[in-house]
């Protein structure tokens, strides 16, 4: 069949930024599937509308997720994308690869799919973009043989992800890669076999800069922080000043809690510091997070559907999260939260929405956490208090 002309898409082969259309061209010669993808996409561009139908349930044996079924609504015109399913492959923590590993993945997908990928999906997975139902199981078996496994989809624990953390970043306050890997391994069943009211995402950020956007995109956000004083190397501060950094305006004046002062020497009132990272970000050579390190646990962020978007909110102001006991305690908390969600969550109700519906205090009671003022920006301003019998002795 003669290749359909794609003048509109070809427009997008021009320009300085790397072109996804060029990527399609790289494989279309040997992949009829991609020829039809280009064709259908050109139709979409001409008609300003998508041409995919809802995905049916497809997958690999024994798993409830990891594959997004996709079918064309123009199967006669573009038979090679009549089936065009996506596979989600759990990325290595921190998205590190060797050339060897990349080639292995490339070869598997060359054999079984469109040859197109997303490196990576928004949740963090490697995305194998487009294959047929028959190819799912063989692809899966080659992947596991090569030491890879599927990621999550549907109402399950989704593939956790982590910032580069201690592997390359001087600010990591806990080992994000280790925690991400540990959670992924310990919760394989929750990852592959949807049994929750809805999706649940973990994202591990090593410090408050939050380079994996965990506070906006994870049901549970684990964000590194420290309790003790910021470490200051006054000599390096001096050098920054000499090098022309306006410490007064660029650092001191921008400190959100106004807890710094500078006059040749930099002073920080660490009890007032809110650990925003700004001063450290600006003077990485002179300032470093303290040494009593750990993480703040926040819960509930999500996109708008359906009660409106949420940012995660603090449920544990500080925990040390390093040795096996601390890991176990943390995972115990996670299990209690899931239990509470299982028992009370409505279908397609995220944990963040559930907590708002039933109330933070109810949630804290259920999972065995004490209320702390660090969990709120301000106490209630309405007098609608549900006093409990013991209320009077408050």
């Amino acid at each position: 069949m003669a290749k359909r002309e794609t003048p509109m898409l070809d427009e997008l082969r021009k320009g300085p930024y790397p072109s996804f259309v060029n990527e399609m061209y790289k494989v279309q010669g040997r992949k009829p599937m991609v020829q039809d993808l280009l064709g259908q996409l050109e139709d979409s561009y001409e008609q300003r509308i998508g041409h995919w139908k809802h995905g049916g349930i497809v997958g690999v044996m024994g798993y409830g997720g990891g594959v997004i079924g996709r079918y064309s609504d123009l199967p006669d015109k573009y038979p090679n994308v009549a089936h065009f399913h996506t596979m989600r492959i759990n990325q290595p923590a921190g998205w590190f690869y060797t050339s060897q590993a990349l080639r292995t993945l490339a070869d598997i997908w060359e054999r079984h799919g469109s040859g197109l990928t997303n490196m990576h999906g928004s949740t963090g997975d490697i995305i194998f973009l487009g294959t047929t139902t028959d190819e799912l199981e063989p692809t899966f078996q080659e992947l596991t043989a090569a030491g890879f496994d599927l990621g999550g989809s549907g109402s399950c624990m989704r593939t956790p992800s982590a910032c580069v953390g201690p592997a390359r970043c001087e600010w990591a306050c806990y080992d994000t890669l280790k925690l991400c890997y540990n959670l992924t391994q310990d919760f394989q069943d929750e990852l592959h076999r949807p049994m929750f009211p809805y999706k649940f995402k973990f994202k591990c950020a090593g410090c408050p800069n939050d380079c994996v956007a965990s506070i906006a995109r994870a049901d549970m956000s684990i964000i590194g922080t420290w309790k003790d004083a910021i470490r200051i190397d006054q000599a390096e501060v001096e050098k920054y000043a000499k090098a022309g950094l306006d410490i007064e305006n660029a650092v001191v004046a921008k400190c959100p809690s106004q807890c710094m002062s500078y006059n040749g020497k930099l002073k920080i009132d660490d009890g007032e510091c809110v650990h925003c990272m700004h001063c450290i970000n600006v003077m990485p050579k002179a300032l470093r997070p303290g040494q009593e390190r750990g993480a703040t646990i926040l819960l509930g962020s999500k996109a708008p559907i359906m009660e409106g978007a949420l940012l995660s909110s603090v449920i544990v102001p500080f925990i040390a999260i390093d040795d096996p006991d601390e890991y176990e305690q943390f995972k115990e908390l996670v299990r209690r939260i899931w239990e509470f969600w299982d028992e009370n969550g409505k279908n397609r109700e995220r944990i963040g929405e559930l907590i708002q519906r039933l109330g933070m205090a109810t949630f804290l009671d259920a999972v065995g956490l004490d209320p702390e003022p660090e969990m709120i920006s301000a106490p209630r301003d309405n007098p609608y208090i549900f006093f409990q019998p013991e209320g009077e002795e408050a």
């Binding site: 898409l9 990527e23 399609m24 590190f96 060797t98 596991t144 580069v164 592997a167 990272m277 708008p304």
Partner: protein, 363 residues
């Protein structure tokens, strides 16, 4: 599905990350001391041991062919012992120990069409989603819009033009917001603007009526008997086109070539640096879907970035800047029209009403 045969390997999870870490990272794991940005797209991390790790960051369209994976692999072998990584914004990073190889690598990447940049206060890759390439729910394409906008923003990616602070752009092709655009400095969001057309015949085959009814945030969907059999009807006045019904029930499509389009949101952030994380707020309610280059969207985004770059103070994210000058001035400076759509009318709308007399008047 049927149980898997015993010999079949399952539930092994991803490879252990340590297998992929460069030796220098293994040696200095958790012992990094500081970093410096050497030039656009290139930074060095110095360990307490004194070891230095050089990172070269290249742009990526995210949708890449296996050929490109192999090309990356070859470059990694040639320049850095086969070691590389991808970032949380889908750029690719080569991890070098020998600084003398940096320029050659950059040249090879340029050769292949992968420019280097996106560090620090530069524009980095646009977090985005599937669009017409793979999703049934899309109100617009993702990759095409991103390509068009990034072509225009390259001077900011390459550091040829300066910005006051990190400026994160994201795109999501529908209200599900897989691109998590709700906390971006600039967000591009595909929107429907017409209620779903119920296909009653399909509905009775494919959808559960209670689930469909429950899926509507505004309660616009009512169960009802339509010509003979059970179906649902949509109270169109209550519909704000979120498509959540379509997500749970294929019989309620909203896609429409003429009334689907894009909206622009500004001022969100994720980091805790200086100010607390913040949601993006509506800047432009609707721009038309205009492939292949979406000129209206490109113009709108560039305009906001240029006004921001010209007016904000150092270290001010777009949201911090607007907080300081106030929204009225943001609309004046950008020339964006303020409309009834900008005024919130969802559940917590009252929180966004101005409840003080702290008002600025032009002099």
């Amino acid at each position: 599905m049927a149980e898997a045969p015993a010999k079949r390997i399952t539930d092994i999870g991803p490879p252990h990350y340590e297998k992929f870490l460069p030796p220098i990272v293994k040696k200095n794991y958790g012992k990094w001391n500081y970093h410096e940005i050497l030039k656009p797209g290139v930074m060095v991390h110095t360990a307490e041991s004194g070891d230095k790790l050089y990172t070269v960051r290249a742009a990526s369209p995210r949708l890449i062919a296996v050929d490109t994976l192999r090309m990356f692999a070859d470059l990694a072998d040639k320049y850095c012992g086969g070691h590389l990584r991808f970032t949380s914004r889908n750029n690719v990073e080569f991890l070098l120990t020998d600084p003398s190889k940096i320029d050659a690598l950059i040249a090879d990447l340029a050769q292949e069409g992968f420019p280097v940049g996106g560090l620090g206060a530069e524009i980095s890759n646009i977090v985005h989603t599937q669009g017409w390439v793979h999703c049934h729910s899309a109100a617009t394409d993702a990759s095409g819009v991103v390509k068009s906008v990034m072509d225009a923003l390259m001077p900011y990616f390459k550091g040829e033009k300066r910005l006051p602070a990190k400026t994160r752009v994201a795109l999501a092709c529908c209200l599900n917001m897989c691109g998590a655009v709700h906390c971006s400095d600039i967000a591009i969001l595909g929107v429907h603007t017409r209620p779903p057309k119920v296909k009653h015949d399909v509905l009775k085959k494919m959808c559960e009526i209670p689930t469909t009814v429950a899926s509507c945030p505004t309660g616009a969907i009512r169960p009802g008997n339509v010509d003979g059999f059970e179906s649902v009807t949509v109270e169109e006045k209550l519909c704000m086109y979120c498509a959540n019904c379509y997500t749970v029930c294929p019989a309620m499509p909203l896609n429409n070539p003429d009334t689907d389009g894009l909206s622009i949101w500004v001022g969100g952030k994720v980091s805790n640096a200086r100010s607390e994380p913040r949601f993006s707020k509506l800047a432009i309610p609707f721009l038309p879907n205009n492939p292949p280059r979406w000129p209206e969207v490109v113009q709108a985004v560039t305009n906001i970035i240029e006004v921001y770059a010209a007016n904000a103070r150092n270290f001010e994210r777009i949201g911090d800047w607007i907080e300081r000058i106030g929204w009225p001035k943001f609309f004046r400076l950008t020339g964006i029209q303020f409309t009834r759509y900008h005024i919130d009318d969802f559940k917590h709308a009252g929180w966004t009403y101005k409840r003080s007399t702290h008002i600025k008047f032009e002099q």
